[in-house]
Every structure is written in structure tokens, then in C-alpha cells.
């Protein structure tokens, strides 16, 4: 029974893949009053469907390790259903239905974690519903103008209408991707969700926001071009969006550096990474959109890998804070490589594909001559090195800081299989960036009526600003690495391994187990002394939202006093209103 349920669940997790591979032809479903839902797979939605198809089974595999939990499985299936509906939808109603199903089923999955507190759960659902309702408002606005719920209906609107739609939709989707200052829910929920579900949230659900944002370039109001033409090579709205993205990326990166909890760090890093995508979408050129798609792909793979690996660590040690872990490299070597590959991808280092994505986005920005944005983006992406380093140093290097970290063993195979698959995918993508361009991204660009980027060979990433060859790069690096290592080992001499982890040059002192040798949480603390970063880290939006909640509650309290318990008061009020209305109406003469 247990096994059958699990197998069924595993099968369910392949539904996106099944949809992706077997979908043919459009499907329509009539709702009411002339509203018809149409479903079809466009190149763009196929791209995101592919991400889903990759991600869903990979998260399902480690989930099988837990005790079989039917309701969680059911919710997960609903979530997948919602996301597929969303991606397939050809009109906004279907999109909204999928969007909402995704929202509430993910919320219910979030509740299954014992760590979810009231604030986390509430902020998750309220922000997401706010996003959904903004989307609904935008849909209705569009409908009121065009009498049409189809997504293509946004073409050819007036500037003012476009502006309204742009604001509504971008707010909706920016909440979903967690752009500042609408990101409050992201760190909380990613942190508190069940460990594997965090992977889903970060890797896949944030991509749905990106999918939504992809329609925004259609909506850029073009009325300001005469003002902006001189300064900007592009629409003002795109410029604003790009700045939102890059500010999000920068601030979230600094916040990530200052986190002391692995999952919170990854949450902020998700915000930052998605911020790059928003920036690239703001640029809106084919290079930048290609970069955004590439980044979406890479970020999906990387975050899946990292969250699954971290989940494995948490499973094995029960700890999640950098201060409690350490020195797992020898005990969890595969996980170490998982995180290593993950952070290399995250930091956008060559030769892994994170670099290809960043390269496309940078070139997109340079091509648009948006250099200040480029500078800010570089700031964010170099600052991300710090948190990447923290992420690998904290758990794996340094010294074990808790009894569990000293005795942990490698994560179970259910966790390792997805890790290994994802590592393989990342490395392969890094070697063959041209393949991703050619096979995955160019069809989408063609589908969006944009110039495809094109790739001369599968190994080459090529733009009109120049490109690079993944195979050459990888082989040079690997050859040198192998040669120098071999050379070094050949003339090995008296190389010996320290007999104790405490054999450190420690100013002549002898460190012991009690000496605080692990630098895990302290990393990044000194960044506060840099004025800009210190300022950013001192400020949060929590206060604002808490204040808003407080004010609403207070208002509710004030109005609530009307609802007393004395029937005479109720009647007195009714009679008074009657009298007053009657008098006013009689005097003014109705």
C-alpha cells in the first residue's frame, strides 16, 4: 500500500514531463457567459514546462524517503496541476486559475512544516493573494477595454491603458518573484517550508512569476520615447523595471550575506538571482531575453541542487545554521560537490552555465548602453561570491561545531540521485552553452517574434559582441588542472597531512575543541562597516508591513466596538439613522 502510494506519487511527478512531450493541439473548455478557457503549449510556455518537467520528479525522489503522506502527495499533485494549467493557459482566466491553484496548494504544503509560524504563513498567503488579485484586476481592466481575456489582446492598446496594465501586472508578478520591497514573504516561507518544498518554491514557483513577467515587454508604454530617446536606448518602463530588478538583486545579496541560516541565505539569493532576470526582462532585447531565459534555466537547476543538498544536510545533522555545522566535506563528499557545483553556477563563474547566462545579460545591458545598471548588476554578482563562499564554508569546511556535525554521514541515496543528475546537467550545460541556446532558447525567441541568438556550434555561445567556446574553456582548464596536479604529485616529496585539525598556525597558541575556530556565521559581519552595506542591512521592510498589520488591526478594533452586545444600542442606531436620513432627504428634497 505504502509502496503503491509512493509509486503513484512518483508517477504523478512526471505529469509535467508527460504534458511536455505528448501535448498536441489546443484544448478549450467553456466556463460560462462566453468565457472560454483555451489551453495550448506555446514555445515560451514549453520552455517553462520543461523546467517544471525537470524539477518536479527530482524533488519527488527525495520526498519518497519520508513516510508516505497522502495529503501531501495530493497537494503536490494539485500544485503541479495548477502550474501546468497556468503554463498551458492561452487566456488570463486560465492563467489565473492555475496561478491561484498553485498559490493555495503551495500554502497548504507550506503549513505542513512544523517550523511555519503565523507570520510566515500569513505573509506568504497574503502577499501571494495580493499578487493574484492585482493580476485579476489587471485582467478585468484589460477585459473592460478589449472585451477579451486572451493574452494576445494586450497588443495595440493606448499608452495610458498600457501604463495601467503595466503597473498592475508588474506589481502582481514582482510580488511573485519577490522583488523589493515586496519580498517580505520570500525569506520567511523559503526558510520555514519543508526542506524539499523550499526547493520547489525557489526553483520552480518563482519561475512562474518570471513566466508572467515575460508578457510585460509587450506592455511597455511607448509614450515617453521622445523624452527618453536621448538618454535611454529603450522604453522608460523597461528601464524602471530593470532598476527594480537590479536594486532587488543588490539589496537581497547583501541581506543574503548577513544571514546565519542556510535556507534563509538561499532564499535571499533566490530573490537576488530572480532580480537579474527582472533586469534582463526590462532590457527586453533578444539577447537580454535570451539571457533571462538562460538564467531562469540555470537558476532552476542550481536552486534545485542547492536546496536538495541542504535538505540532505539538515536531514543528516538536524542543524541549519552555519554556526552549528562545519567540516562535513569528508563526511558528505557528494553533498559537498553538490554545493560546490551549485555555488559555482550561482556565482556565475565560468565554465558552468551561470556564466553563460550572466554573459548574455551583461552583453544585453552593454548593447542597450545601460551601463549604470550594468555596474549595479556587477556589484550584486560580485557580492554574491561572499554568500556563495559562506554557503560552502559554513557547512563543509572549517571545524565541526556540533556533535551531530561530527558524526554525520552522507545523505541517503534518494537525495544523492537528484544531486548527481543536476550536477551532470549543469556541467553539460556549461560545456555546451550553444546547445541550450540552439535547442531551448531560440525557439522561444522566435515564438516571441525576436531575433534568435543562434549558436555556430553547440559548444559556442556567440553574440554580435563576441562569444566564447565552452569546450575549449573547459578542456584548457581541465587539462591544466590535471597536468599541474599530476606534476605536483609526481615530485611529491615530504608532503604530509596534518595529524590533527587543530594543527594550525594560531600565533603559537594551541587551539582546542573549545576554541571558536569556525568562522561560519561571522562571515560578512564586518561588511557592516562599509557605509552603504551597513545602511542596507540596518533597514528592513518588516517594520512597515508590521505597522500596516497593526494599523489594520487597530481599525478593525475600533469598528468592532460598534458590534456591542446591547440590543437597545443597535436599535437606537437604526432609529437614529432612519431619522437623520429622513430629515436630510426631506430637507434637501429627494
Amino acid at each position: 500500500m505504502n509502496l503503491i502510494t509512493k509509486l503513484l506519487f512518483l508517477g504523478l511527478s512526471f505529469t509535467p514531463a508527460a504534458t511536455f512531450f505528448t501535448w498536441d493541439g489546443a484544448v478549450a473548455w467553456s466556463l460560462f457567459n462566453g468565457i472560454t478557457l483555451s489551453f495550448d503549449l506555446t514555445p515560451l510556455s514549453a520552455f517553462f514546462m520543461l523546467l517544471l518537467a525537470i524539477g518536479a520528479p527530482l524533488i519527488a525522489v527525495p520526498m519518497l524517503r519520508e513516510k508516505s503522506d497522502e495529503s501531501a502527495y495530493a497537494l503536490y499533485a494539485l500544485l503541479l496541476l495548477g502550474m501546468q494549467l497556468l503554463l498551458l493557459a492561452g487566456d488570463f482566466i486560465g492563467f489565473f486559475i492555475g496561478w491561484e491553484m498553485m498559490t493555495w496548494s503551495s500554502y497548504l504544503l507550506l503549513l505542513r512544516s512544523p517550523r511555519t509560524d503565523l507570520e510566515g504563513a500569513q505573509s506568504y498567503i497574503l502577499f501571494n493573494l495580493a499578487s493574484a488579485f492585482l493580476l485579476l484586476a489587471g485582467m478585468l481592466f484589460l477585459y473592460s477595454i478589449t472585451d477579451d481575456f486572451r493574452i494576445q489582446a494586450v497588443d495595440g492598446l493606448l499608452t495610458a491603458d498600457k501604463l495601467v496594465l503595466f503597473v498592475l501586472f508588474s506589481l502582481a508578478f514582482l510580488i511573485k518573484v519577490g522583488a523589493l520591497p515586496l519580498h517580505l514573504w520570500v525569506p520567511r516561507s523559503y526558510d520555514q517550508a519543508p526542506d524539499l518544498f523550499s526547493a520547489f518554491l525557489s526553483a520552480l514557483m518563482s519561475k512562474m512569476g518570471i513566466y508572467g513577467l515575460m508578457i510585460l515587454p509587450l506592455l511597455f508604454p511607448d509614450g515617453f520615447s521622445e523624452i527618453s530617446g536621448r538618454f535611454l536606448n529603450g522604453p522608460v518602463a523597461g528601464y524602471v523595471l530593470a532598476w527594480i530588478g537590479v536594486i532587488t538583486a543588490t539589496i537581497a545579496t547583501f541581506k543574503a550575506i548577513s544571514q546565519e541560516d542556510m535556507k534563509r541565505l538561499l532564499a535571499y539569493s533566490s530573490i537576488a538571482q530572480v532580480g537579474y532576470i527582472v533586469t534582463a526582462l526590462g532590457v527586453g532585447s533578444s539577447l537580454a531575453i535570451g539571457g533571462a531565459l538562460f538564467q531562469a534555466l540555470v537558476h532552476t537547476l542550481v536552486k534545485l541542487l542547492l536546496f536538495i543538498t541542504i535538505a540532505g544536510i539538515i536531514l543528516q545533522t538536524g542543524h541549519r545554521r552555519f554556526t552549528d555545522l562545519g567540516q562535513l566535506i569528508s563526511r558528505m563528499p557528494i553533498s559537498f560537490f553538490g554545493v560546490l557545483i551549485g555555488i559555482i553556477g550561482l556565482a556565475g563563474m565560468p565554465p558552468l552555465p551561470g556564466f553563460a547566462a550572466k554573459y548574455l545579460m551583461y552583453v544585453g545591458l552593454i548593447e542597450a548602453h545601460w551601463l549604470l545598471l550594468l555596474a549595479a548588476m556587477i556589484l550584486a554578482s560580485t557580492a554574491s561570491f561572499v554568500y556563495c563562499y559562506k554557503l560552502i564554508y559554513g557547512p563543509f569546511l572549517g571545524h565541526a561545531n556540533s556533535p551531530e556535525a561530527k558524526t554525520a554521514t552522507e545523505a541517503p541515496w534518494q537525495y544523492l540521485i537528484p544531486q548527481i543528475i543536476l550536477m551532470g546537467m549543469l556541467v553539460a550545460l556549461g560545456i555546451f552553452p550553444g546547445w541550450a541556446i540552439d535547442v531551448l532558447i531560440d525557439p522561444v525567441l522566435i515564438g516571441l517574434n525576436m531575433t534568435p541568438i543562434g549558436a555556430p556550434t553547440w559548444a559556442q555561445l556567440s553574440t554580435n559582441y563576441g562569444g566564447y567556446d565552452g569546450v575549449v574553456l573547459m578542456s584548457v582548464f581541465a587539462t591544466v588542472f590535471v597536468l599541474i596536479t599530476a606534476l605536483f604529485l609526481l615530485i611529491r616529496g615530504n608532503m604530509h597531512r596534518a595529524a590533527s585539525p587543530y594543527d594550525l598556525s594560531f600565533c603559537g597558541e594551541v587551539p582546542t575543541a573549545d576554541t571558536p575556530l569556525h568562522y561560519g556565521a561571522g562571515m560578512g559581519r564586518e561588511l557592516r562597516r562599509v557605509p552603504l552595506i551597513g545602511w542596507i542591512l540596518r533597514h528592513t521592510t518588516t517594520g512597515f508591513y508590521a505597522g500596516l498589520t497593526r494599523q489594520t488591526q487597530a481599525a478593525a478594533g475600533v469598528i468592532g466596538t460598534l458590534y456591542g452586545s446591547n440590543p437597545q444600542t443597535w436599535l437606537l442606531l437604526a432609529v437614529l439613522i432612519f431619522a437623520v436620513t429622513l430629515t436630510i432627504q426631506s430637507v434637501t428634497g429627494a
Binding site: 452586545s565 440590543p567 437597545q568 436599535l571
Partner: protein, 128 residues
């Protein structure tokens, strides 16, 4: 003197008097409803208000000189008879009103037995 009495026979005057009287009654009831705390007094007030409304109906619908709407004693046509409908309505309404009042008072008595309270203001059990 007679003219004065005749004046009273005129429907408009008579109706005004009835109307004013009923309205006074209505407001007495309303006052009681809003100002008195005792449950039974409140029901009495409600009953007074209701009666005031009935009075208005009966009084305004009837003009002096009309006879009761009963077809007997050789009366074969509905001439100069008062409108029968208001009376029927009033009778029905009175029945309903009695039912409501009876229900209310019985509840009030039971409530008093259970809690010993008679005042509306003391009914705060339901407030959180």
C-alpha cells in the same frame, strides 16, 4: 359648539387626530424600547409600537359613517361600508404579534429563571 363637534366628524380632522394619537403611542413605545432595561418592559413597548401601527391602519382606512362590512340585515351591496381588508389584516397581524410577544416573554421568563437577570444590559454572555 356643534360646529366644533361637526368639525370632528370631518374625515381629515378625525384622521389627523387618530394619526397624531397613534404616532404619540408609537413614540411612547419607541421610548420604552430604547430607554427601559427590563425585558418585559421592552416587550410591552414593542407591543405598544405594534398597536400604534395597527391603529393607524384601522383609523385611516375607516371614515366616519361607514358601517361594518357585514352583508346581513338586508344590506346587499358594499356601499358606504368600510373597507374590510384593513380589519382582516389587523386581525392577522395581532395574532402574529401575540405569538411573537408570547414567545419573547416566555423566553424572558426562562432566561430569568436560569440566570436571575431581567435587564437587557446584563446580557453579555455572548460577547468575547
Amino acid at each position: 359648539m356643534l360646529e366644533v363637534l361637526e368639525l370632528f366628524d370631518r374625515p381629515a380632522v378625525l384622521h389627523s387626530i387618530y394619526l397624531i394619537g397613534s404616532l404619540i403611542l408609537f413614540f411612547i413605545g419607541l421610548y420604552g424600547l430604547l430607554a427601559k432595561r427590563h425585558l418585559l418592559k421592552i416587550f410591552v413597548s414593542i407591543e405598544i409600537m405594534e398597536l400604534a401601527v395597527y391603529l393607524i391602519l384601522i383609523a385611516i382606512a375607516t371614515t366616519p359613517g361607514e358601517t361594518a362590512p357585514i352583508l346581513s340585515d338586508g344590506f346587499t351591496a358594499f356601499t358606504s361600508m368600510s373597507d374590510p381588508i384593513p380589519q382582516a389584516l389587523t386581525l392577522t397581524a395581532i395574532v402574529i404579534g401575540v405569538a411573537v410577544t408570547a414567545l419573547g416573554t416566555s423566553m424572558a421568563i426562562q432566561y430569568h429563571r436560569l440566570t436571575g437577570k431581567v435587564s437587557v444590559g446584563e446580557m453579555t454572555e455572548l460577547k468575547d
